[in-house]
Point group: C2
Chain length 369, copies 2
């Protein structure tokens, strides 16, 4: 706090850079011109090395047919000028960008970290750069982002949909942009998608509670217009039906996402006329809120959550969850994307990856009336 490294010391680097200073003097530059601060081009390198333009290009791209001696001279000029190839121009000429776009919902959601990372790894393995942005669950923003990426001519697009109508992508698909939807299917267009088995996972999770003796089981989920929510709800209903348990309306809360409201919903179903003895939480955010609520109860209420949460095993009791494999989903999606680009893959498919029930205690509590 008290001893800071001085910022105006005399270390190397960032001396007075003429361009940097001048930039602030000419406001006009800021808006239109600025020409990347006048970076050297191949032409400059060629002039300095005393060779032709194409020879520089050859050296930069490691193409054969350049004498070691010439190559050396060019390389020297490159280093001296600090030249770096302008990929925009390259892309324009070559037609391929070697980059893929990822549109996700919310960067801050822990589910997307591993997913995003898996996509990046695969992209990297294929020599492509990953460009991503998040839609903040706003369909308009998703569209805006996806189209911006298309305008940059990404070779492919991995999308975690926020909206439910993706016809805006039709021209892009037609133009050959590879596309894979993840976590939720595409709306109103036919495209590749990679999902978790939301229905089966939820069904198994609820069946697990039933197997431990519960009959009055609550379900708290997101808006049913979201595919994953609808599927998980369907799984809940099926499990209850299979066990011959009629579901009461007061056991279900759909469409509330705000933690305060989730809390109200949970408390409501715990204290109603026919109080639940177990809760199935439809996603990780809901799970966390429900954990808080249950911690305040004297009665022990069972809980199974969809999606794993960090430290779930350290809580008392440990939280039983239906876990998705985010990394596997991401890897799968990215690999399909590149197979589309290969031409190895032509027919759109829907892939559903299995979920895994992880028992840690909270789902194995017996009913306490």
């Amino acid at each position: 706090m008290d001893r800071r490294i001085p910022v105006d010391d005399d270390r190397t680097g960032h001396r007075i850079v003429p361009e940097a200073i001048r930039r602030s003097d000419r406001p006009a530059d800021r808006l239109a011109g600025a020409r990347y601060g006048n970076r050297p081009t191949m032409k400059d390198v060629a002039a300095r090395a005393g060779v032709g333009l194409k020879t520089v290009s050859r050296v930069v791209n490691g193409e054969p047919g350049v004498t070691p001696e010439t190559e050396h001279r060019v390389q020297e000029a490159i280093d001296a000028l600090g030249f770096r190839r302008n990929d925009s121009a390259r892309v324009l000429r070559k037609g391929r960008t070697a980059s893929v776009g990822l549109v996700l919902e919310d960067l801050a959601d822990p589910f997307y970290g591993p997913l995003s990372r898996a996509v990046e790894e695969v992209a990297r393995a294929h020599g492509a750069l990953l460009i991503n942005g998040s839609s903040a669950e706003d369909p308009d923003r998703e569209q805006e982002l996806a189209l911006a990426l298309c305008a940059r001519r990404v070779d492919g697009l991995v999308i975690i949909p926020a909206g439910d109508d993706h016809r805006y992508l039709e021209p892009e698909l037609k133009a050959g942009v590879a596309t894979v939807f993840v976590d939720r299917p595409a709306g109103k267009i036919d495209a590749d998608c990679v999902l978790s088995d939301n229905y089966g996972g939820a069904r198994d999770g609820v069946a697990h509670l039933i197997a431990h003796g519960h009959r009055r089981i609550g379900f708290i989920g997101d808006m049913p217009r979201i595919h994953t929510s609808a599927e998980r709800l369907r799984g809940y209903r099926t499990a209850m039906e299979d066990a011959g348990i009629p579901v009461e309306d007061s056991w279900m809360s759909l469409g509330v996402t705000d933690p305060e409201r989730v809390r109200d919903a949970a408390e409501g179903m715990l204290t109603g006329p026919s109080p639940v003895t177990a809760i199935f939480a439809g996603n990780n955010r809901v799970t966390v809120t429900v954990i808080r609520v249950l911690a305040e109860q004297t009665r022990r209420v069972a809980l199974v959550g969809f999606d794993d949460i960090e430290l779930a095993d350290l809580l008392e009791p440990g939280v039983t969850v239906v876990a998705q494999d985010a990394a596997a989903i991401g890897r799968n999606a990215a690999e399909r994307l590149f197979r589309q680009l290969d031409g190895t893959l032509v027919t759109p498919e829907r892939i559903e990856l299995p979920t895994r029930l992880i028992t840690r205690g909270s789902g194995e509590l017996p009913p306490a009336d």
Copy 2:
């Protein structure tokens, strides 16, 4: 699981696209040509609308000087052809890309979610796209990524350094690429950076333990070559020194990151000849592992962690932490970046943001010998 959307139905979208099919027939196309699957250009639009090239450009960019009637004709042609402006060409011509790069360490680390998101929000507010990638803590990969972004001519770069030598960026800085380092300072160059007050935060955290009566306090941190680790270690040492407590070597573990080794280290300092009664964990990953170890102990050991962790308040006891405000750091960094681009900001500075001690129980346990 059972009901899948048929892939060969007759809805619109994804009909047999000649380009897509032909692409797989001509392997050569995959590598070099492919020309974005022959997307329409402004020329095509102009031809179809029966106007000049520049008129199309004007319509696309909303420039004035086009009759509503002409504009309408052009717009129709655009929709009919599914035209989308090629931003690569635009960038080449204009010299500005309206995009910034973010190089982070590990997308899966929860600390970077909010940070990344904050950067994105600011970028978005400035009309820029965010391109990001993660270095996986590998200095070579950080360099590779940063330079790849420069080759794409991003206007600016936010870097969370993995390495400690950033001289490779000198030509880029000179060329006018705005750059802000985050979380750790730049190595061997003079550049803007936005950090947490790691030293002060750690010092306060350790002082907090001392205030609760602890004298034998352990420190588990990352490699001291990482700036944050070194600063936090320095804070630990200062706090101990200020309290007149000589530090024993066996109380410190530096440079272990692998959870198994962290566990060994923690167990070691709990059972050694002069066992600690409290532990200061140098980062969130260490904190989590230490929580696990302490949960297995019969003796109650106090804990303060650097960096907040999710659900820290639900554990028993709640985990006391020194919290960084990742979102504030990201916002700050991004805003500085755009101020550099404005020209409003010229002198590199080091900004240190305060941390906040959040007491939840684990840091307030008394010493138990």
